[in-house]
Symmetry: C2
């Protein structure tokens, strides 16, 4: 790079002369749509064309702004964890009816969701964890971070349930929260395998019946 070019850069940055065609799309909105597609189809089954169509932008704009498919994926994971930690269904239910009731309604809603005939969903983090077997370290890191944030929220409900005497108070609330999430994710996998909703509801019901400490 010649010294003239360097000087040019300095001038441009100091005096902030340039200003050109503004970005036509909303980056956050595009990312939200990317998350939707990844959520629905998974990473592998989402081609770049799928992604671009959903995001409503062109190839050039995509690579200018988001650098790569994988980077977009990682950002989508973070975005999801943010959403769940602030304002998602977990925080909402936990505020409305704290303690054991929040856990049961969340679990029931989750089973409804993953066994939906029309549009089965389930936790995006669970999908990510299922698809990538911890092979990719950056993805692994993003998943763990997301899980821990969600576990923090569930833990608060568990602690409330323990205070109410609905869950054994000698157990670690973090362990219990992890167990609740594992049960949900396990039922999630079973649902995608094709097991009928009624069976899964009964299995889930059994779990809550057994986990609740007798009054």
């Amino acid at each position: 790079m010649s010294s003239v070019l360097i000087l040019d850069l300095l001038v441009q940055n100091c005096y902030r002369i340039p200003m050109a065609r503004p970005r036509e799309f909303d980056e956050e909105q595009a990312l939200a749509r990317a998350m939707e597609v990844f959520w629905k189809q998974g990473y592998h089954d989402t081609s770049l064309d799928d992604l671009l169509e959903a995001m409503g932008i062109q190839r050039g704009s995509f690579y200018n702004t988001f650098r790569s498919k994988k980077e977009t994926y990682l950002r989508a994971i973070d975005r999801y964890a943010d959403f769940m930690a602030n304002g998602g269904p977990y925080t909402h239910a936990a505020q409305m009816e704290p303690g054991f009731a929040a856990l049961t309604t969340l679990a029931n809603d989750y089973i409804e969701s993953v066994t939906s005939e029309t549009e089965p969903r389930g936790c995006f983090l669970a999908h990510v964890a299922k698809e990538h077997r911890g092979n990719d370290p950056t993805i692994r890191q993003a998943i763990i971070a997301g899980i821990e944030r969600m576990r923090g929220i569930v833990t608060r409900s568990v602690e409330a349930a323990q205070r109410d005497g609905d869950l054994p108070s000698d157990a670690s609330p973090e362990d219990l929260a992890l167990l609740f999430m594992s049960v949900a994710w396990g039922i999630h996998v079973m649902a995608e395998a094709g097991l009928p909703r009624e069976h899964l509801k009964k299995a889930g019901g059994q779990f809550f019946a057994m986990s609740r400490t007798p009054a």
Copy 2:
């Protein structure tokens, strides 16, 4: 087809004249090796070259004998279910120490397995269910068949545990078996997400502590 050709066929079939170069590989062994690779790497991440190298055969032989990658996959799933239903660790443990003890040791072994640093495994059916979201009907069918066979085995342990008074006798043993499998698979997903073994062991331990009916 000329009548002469037809006559040829008849002669060949009646008199069993033909005999040519015999197959050099063992079909069952090749299938077993294919299952290993699918188990370890998943369907998507196993290229045909991976498959051929593991099976020790060439492209032509493969397509002659196994028809396609997917058909091989389906056969591998069936083969696994067969193995688990007859002589696998489940049947073994259930015979050695029936009832609740069998369930706990199986669960502990499973957690050990899925959190192994060197070679994490976990149920092949779980891997298949995780990878395919019920999109493909033939795979879906194979998974369900496999799950139901395994559930049958677990159900017997649950029934024994109920007779021993270790599990609530008013619950359906099939539902409880499904719950146990769901917990195992949920922990499996958590392990692959990267959660540490000790956390998962404690979560699993909590489950068995809560599920056991007080003496």
